[in-house]
Amino acid sequence: MSSMFSTPRDIAAENRAKDKGLRQRTRMGYIWQGIFYLATTIAILALVTLILNIIDSAFGYVAVQNTVEPAALVEQVQPGSDTPLHDLEKADLLTILNENVRRGLLRAMNADQPLVDRSQKELARLVVDRVVEPRVEKSWHLWESLTARDEIRAWVDENLPDGWIQFRSWVNVEFLSKDLSNVPERAGIRTPIMGSVMVILITILFSFPVGVGSALYLEEFAPDNRLNRFIQVNIYNLSGVPSIIYGLLGLAVFVRILEPITSGAIFGAIEDHSTANGRTILSAGLTLGLLILPIIIINAQEAIRAVPKSLRDSAFGLGATRWQTVWHHVLPASMDRILTGTIIAVSRALGETAPLVVVGASAFLTRDPSSIFDKFTTLPIMIYRWTAYPQAEFRNLAAGAIIVLLVVLLSLNAGAIIMRDRISKKRRMGK
């Protein structure tokens, strides 16, 4: 046995023998490494393509044509004149408005602020908005706009002799601040944003305390018995239940069974009982709350578990009760991570569509939601609805809304990541 090893071996000879094998192994290593890089590149490319695909729809050329030519309007008040519309006298603008705008709208504008009291500039803007009414007749995607400019021009020349093309970003300040409309150029997402915000607030108000409470119970208080193990297993299972099933649950429980509560009827919060129903912000928020509850619990449990045992030992060793230990030490030490987990769960809720479709979101609202018993629509719902509209321009709007939603999600995630970094920094300091 020892003869095998006792003589010093000739390393050089062995090396030569093994060299070929090693070279091949090294090559295999590079090939696989290449595969790993490639896979990662593909994953990133998928993300980039996805985003580009959205951006492609959210920007691009539009062909615009006036409903009424400004010159025709000037002709109405100053026949023969060639004054540009926006240089007209206030009186002339008033005449144009009074003659060309429908009565109801005039009355509403006057009720808002009498037209005679408004500045010339404002009146000119109103004329352009309401009478000249430039309308988007056709829209092109960003890619086409960049590569096929001449074709687009040719199309406009042929089909819209009075029209012109302009570059339009479908996401803009007005888009964020205006309410819903059936005219793509006028449509904004203020109402769905408010809806999303209110729904998410309910979601957080419900799922955060309940989720953290459950996690605290399971990690710090629950004795290891069958009931608690069952609760734990049950939570893991719930986290895998498809969101559409939560929709069915929300429909049955919040919309139907708990209608008196979710419609606000028993709180006397609504004036009109005849059409009160459970398809409210409250129901939607609670449905999403149930949906992300298991995610929040599991994340919070992990956060709580990550609190070093030594911290609890310190507190207990000083004669602290369990709740004192948890409240003064465990919870503060795990709060950053709990919040990180919550943000991730909440971004999931923000993007959910299917359960809200089932619970019943509205397609058009005239007023922003102002109470939790109001009917609602949310950003993803609006995205989903807009893509179903006949006019192609609503698809551009949908892309714009997606970008807004993505920016919100991105900032939330970035917040979570920054928080995560801060935690690890704190840990390092702690060491």
Binding site: S274, T275, A363, F364, T387
Partner: protein, 322 residues
């Protein structure tokens, strides 16, 4: 001071919005003075029209809430007649007897307000170069029964028919089945290669992609997609204002006899007299709808209808209430 007084007087009068009432005429509506919310739900066909009206209503000064839920005519009636949770139900077909019975059980008597006409469009892709016109029998074969185009007409290609059909809960589906299949959905439901969707754009996308695809849906969706779709004439008649007006909606034969478009259909909103009287804002909404619908309907892609019956219904329901 005087201003405040009138305001409070207006506030106390739920019919303050009524104005310029001629004898036997629908009153004009001053949206600034309307109070109270209105819940509407139903047809996806009527929805674009209703949405435009509602938006206009708001522009004209409405401050309260009008909700519009787009769930299909059948589901809309469900909410209106069973749950009783809506004030107005949008529908792209007439209410069924069974639905009227349901409504009676919760003390409602649905009143129809005909607001427009839709021409149910049978469309193919622009790449399709073999179909231009279909007969009623061929239409029935195309959406059920035949598997390939040449089974419908022998000089058409021997290619499978790819069908895109509105969802089974839509008024559009119901109406089509009623007219073409005599209310028996079996054939169309069991046809091969059929896609159902409540989302009409899914149908548009689908049909535009293959020369052997065919679909039917509301005229508005055709109008918006004229550049990729081709509309077929049925029994030689194409949708037009005249053809649609001539139709009387009973059956394809009668329509054709009258020189009407064979599958034109009425668009309705439904409400109930009791609701309109106890909630004047509902009456206001409907009056506003009727007053304004013909200004906007062609912009949405439908055909205007004769509103006199609807107006009479309104006046009858509100008799003596204001």
């Amino acid at each position: 001071e005087g201003q405040g007084e009138t305001e409070s007087a207006e506030e106390s009068n739920p019919f303050a919005w009524v104005e310029e009432m001629g004898e036997g005429e629908l009153p004009a509506v001053n949206p600034l003075l309307v109070q109270g919310d209105v819940a509407t739900a139903g047809s996806s066909t009527v929805a674009p029209l209703a949405a435009v009206i509602i938006e206009r209503y708001k522009e004209d000064g409405l401050t309260s809430q009008v909700t519009l839920d787009v769930i299909g005519s059948g589901a809309g009636f469900e909410r209106f007649t069973v749950a009783g949770e809506t004030d107005v139900s949008n529908a792209s077909r007439a209410i069924k007897d069974s639905e009227v019975e349901n409504a009676a059980e919760i003390g409602r008597t649905p009143i129809p307000f005909r607001v427009g006409t839709d021409a149910l469009s049978v469309v193919v892709s622009q790449e399709n170069d073999f179909v231009e016109d279909v007969t009623a029998e061929e239409l029935a074969l195309i959406f059920g029964g035949a598997e390939t185009w040449n089974e419908v007409r022998s000089d058409w290609p021997n290619e499978p028919i790819l069908r895109y059909v509105p969802g089974t809960d839509s008024g559009t589906f119901d109406f089509f089945v009623e007219m073409v299949y005599d209310e028996d959905p079996d054939t169309i439901l069991s046809a091969e290669n059929t896609q159902f969707s409540e989302d009409d754009n899914i149908l548009v996308q689908g049909v535009s992609e293959s020369p052997y695809a065919v679909a039917f849906f509301g005229y508005a969706y055709f109008v918006e997609n004229q550049d990729i779709l081709k509309i077929l004439s049925v029994e030689g008649i194409e949708p037009s204002q005249e053809a649609v007006e001539n139709a009387n909606y009973d059956s394809i034969e009668k329509n054709v006899e009258a020189g009407g478009y064979p599958i034109a259909r009425p668009l309705f909103i439904y409400s109930d007299a009791e609701i309109m009287r106890s909630k004047p804002q509902v009456a206001a909404y409907i009056a506003y709808f009727l007053n304004n619908v013909n200004d906007v309907i062609d912009q949405v892609g439908y055909f205007p209808a004769d509103l006199s019956v609807a107006e009479a219904n309104w006046l009858e329901a509100m008799e003596g209430a204001y």
